[in-house]
Symmetry: C2
Amino acid sequence: MIRYALIVAGGSGKRMGTDIPKQFLELSGKPLLMRSIERFWSFDNSIRIITVLPEDQIIFWGELQKKHSFSIPNIVVAGGPERFYSVKNGLDQVEDDSLVAIHDGVRPLVSSATIKRCFDMARESGNAVPVICPADSIRRVTEQGNIPVNRQYLRIIQTPQVFDSKLIKKAYLQDYSPEFTDDATLLEKTGEVIHLVDGNRENMKITNPGDLAMAEALFKTIF
Amino acid sequence: MIRYALIVAGGSGKRMGTDIPKQFLELSGKPLLMRSIERFWSFDNSIRIITVLPEDQIIFWGELQKKHSFSIPNIVVAGGPERFYSVKNGLDQVEDDSLVAIHDGVRPLVSSATIKRCFDMARESGNAVPVICPADSIRRVTEQGNIPVNRQYLRIIQTPQVFDSKLIKKAYLQDYSPEFTDDATLLEKTGEVIHLVDGNRENMKITNPGDLAMAEALFKTIF
């Protein structure tokens, strides 16, 4: 069965407090986006990689690939005004009889074992979402103050979320809504049950400069 | 105002799948418990440190301190059958007009800035609990399957939890209950409102061998 990795990078750089979009910040000498792509290539070098980027970053991405002699083939697709539209544009490049892993461009620490668990479960059940259990106590902030929450039943959601391509394409025929916080949420609106598999604890989303330092340390240890 | 750090280490080693209790596993060449104590000493070298350990580990702890030429003074107290009793035993050594930071012995990556924020808030408001916002989506596992949770109002709880000593000692006069998952939960049973401050993202609790590798990487970067 054909496998795709659809890597979504939508950062404009505002949130990191830098001029450079966060997917282009360097981890061990290469942009995060390249590091994320490398994880899938390392898992399966026949995987088809689709990179979704804001339209005005596509030329820069080409230049970056040259500069770093980055040779992993990836189809580049222009994103939309929301992540929803970016993924939808990427899915247009995906054939029906396949599995597609939708992954954050700023999660370069996903392990091959996590990717494998996701593809295996998705082949069997139509979808797979990697999760880890919270290691710490959790509280909820309310108008009346903050209260303890039973963490036993909570799961922290990661990517890649892997889907039977037909199912996720059908889910993306829905109209956009801000409540679609991830692809799994969108899929379950079509009546599908979401299947959880184990992620890996290092597989963090890099969203601020402190995360980048942490990722740098982890990268050197685990790869 | 006198400051105490009450460092609680109750691990027997079973959970880590090792023979050595997890507080004695080494981080950058020293036991986690020493690394955790060093964080408080580095913040304030007039702080009074109380180490709570299972009774049968106290002699070994003395030997470890000799072996590592560990010279930070710490009063050693024997723990009880549950964390509740261990903290209670430690609090017996704490004078009333003081602030006490209750900290997990296996959280060696707490920053001085986090410790300061906790003591400052506790001096002002009677208690302080360090938290971080979840960076990822969250789902809840239910009997009917797993469902999305709005993470916007959730906070991940860390230690040190810092208290006005009189207030926390009063809270520890309650009978033990398994629902007391942390000291803040116990305090709020006495009617106090819990005050949240910013923790630091690296301040992880080391509970399995994967965490230890991650902590090793982080330790080298941040200290």
